[in-house]
Amino acid sequence: MKNPICKKSLFCIFSGLLLFFYVSPVFSNQQEDVTSKFKKAVTKIDKSKQVDNTIPVPKNIIKATMEYQGGLFYTEARKNQIKRFKCSTCHNNKKVLISNAADISHADIKVVHGDKKNPLTCNTCHNENDRDFLVTGKGTKIDLDHAYNMCGQCHFRQKKDWIGGAHGKRVTYWAGERVVKNCTSCHNPHSPRFEKRWPTTYSVPLK
């Protein structure tokens, strides 16, 4: 290494290599992976401008009582789906004098909900004093449209996921105002577990 020319040439080689390693990612085909792509996207997006199409707001929805990470959202209404609402038309202080009372006495409802040893009864959820409402364990009246507040007492994990978007699903549109299914849109509140049934079709093997 006493020779200055040798030093010079070594310096040249090293600087050349450095330059090469510095420039090479520009020419290589390496692209940004999807995880770092979405982690970079933190700015809020205007919900109304996500797609060019104007998205109609579905009917029969109500504003939820809480907010998700993006603000207020909507869920499907329940009350106008119940055939004989309001309940207080029958359940009041007067005597019931209907000829088909036996048929409409809710005898068809089977409650498969809660612990097997200690299942739920009607009045666990339904308000005895005000029949048009539900009631929580702490005695708070709850509107039938906002049943998620009722279910969330026990199923708080599912409620948290539902608010965030990991449980349940959106109604028709991924863009625009957030409208999600209510608990009772998919689950029968009296027997919430999905029933066993036959699959619609079958899958062809992979290979």
């Binding site: 996207a41 990470q69 991924w174």
Partner: protein, 310 residues
């Protein structure tokens, strides 16, 4: 010299003759076809003929796209007597589609498979499906160990269900394999096929590690009243024999803000679809709060399809 000229036909005259012969032959063939009613009217033939000379979708201007769309719509009307609406909606800005599948929630009802076949006008004869659902025992990891042809009431105890479809990779190997550049990744992340540029070599099918692509072995057959009329040029428009097709995240729906057909059909809400670039979207919530994994992540294909558990 003169006698030589007479004997030899020079290049120019030969080509002239060949060209005119070809024209005469061509017309003869078309007239013959017309006589047999194979092509319907001469209008339909003219349109079909022009269709052969259109450009690759990505090279077309919007005016050219509109022209070919109107031709295809007219052809559908003339040949099958159905009114379809083919659109060429462009990808929206700041949108990257992502998908998550809840392995805990899926109960194997296969409603999604049925809805997908219907929405995407997939051939009924060969029983082609974009989505496959596998019944797997607890502890199994890869869907090729699972059973797709289960025939009993679901959900079965001790089993879970796993859906497989095109994962819309961010680094798609199928795109690299295509010799005609007939398949590519759109800016919103959907891998699409230009059906008119596909030559049916099935290289992409071999390149895909996720069994995500389907080949039309025969002319797709769909009952006329079951055809989805709202179509997209890169999505569920009519295909012919001998070309590849694949899941496009229902491009005809998603580009208009709708969720895909499988998400809408899912009775248990096991499927989550949304914009990865929107920090408030459901898919982002799943990715940030749930235990997620991707299939064969080590291959570096970077799929935009995550599995998660509750």
């Amino acid at each position: 010299m003169d006698s030589d000229k007479k004997k030899k036909i020079d290049r120019r005259t030969f080509l002239k003759g060949a060209a005119s012969a070809a024209i005469v032959g061509g017309t003869a063939v078309t007239v013959g076809c017309e006589g047999k009613g194979l092509l319907g009217s001469s209008e339909a033939f003219a349109m079909e003929f022009t269709e052969y000379f259109k450009k690759h979708y990505r090279l077309m201007t919007q005016a050219e796209r509109d022209q070919t769309v109107s031709r295809l719509e007219k052809l559908a009307k003339l040949k099958q007597n159905i009114t379809v609406n083919i659109d060429t909606t462009q990808p929206a800005e700041n949108v990257l589609y992502g998908y998550a599948f809840n392995v805990t929630r899926c109960e194997g009802y296969m409603e999604c498979v049925q809805a997908c076949v219907k929405e995407n006008n997939i051939d009924r004869k060969s029983n082609t499906q974009y989505i496959r659902i596998f019944e797997m025992e607890h502890g199994q990891m890869s869907p090729d160990q699972g059973e797709g042809k289960y025939f009993h009431m679901v959900p079965k105890e001790g089993h879970f269900y796993m859906g497989v479809q095109c994962f819309q990779c961010e680094n798609p190997p199928c795109v690299k394999a295509c010799p005609t550049k007939a398949t590519w990744k759109e800016p919103d992340g959907i891998v699409v096929v230009d059906y008119d540029w596909c030559i049916g070599c099935r290289y992409c099918m071999a390149a895909c590690p996720y069994w995500g692509r389907r080949f039309n072995w025969n002319q797709p057959q769909i009952p006329k009243d079951e055809i989805t009329k709202e179509q997209h040029y890169l999505g569920n428009r009519s295909r012919v024999r001998g070309m590849m097709e694949k899941c496009t995240f229902c491009i005809q729906r998603s580009r208009k803000g709708k969720v895909t057909a499988c998400v809408e059909a899912c009775p248990t809400g096991a499927r989550v679809f949304g914009n990865l670039l929107d920090p408030d979207s459901e898919i982002r919530f799943v990715l940030e709060n749930k235990k997620v994994y991707r299939l064969k992540e080590d291959l570096g294909t970077d799929p935009k399809f995550w599995y998660f558990i509750d």
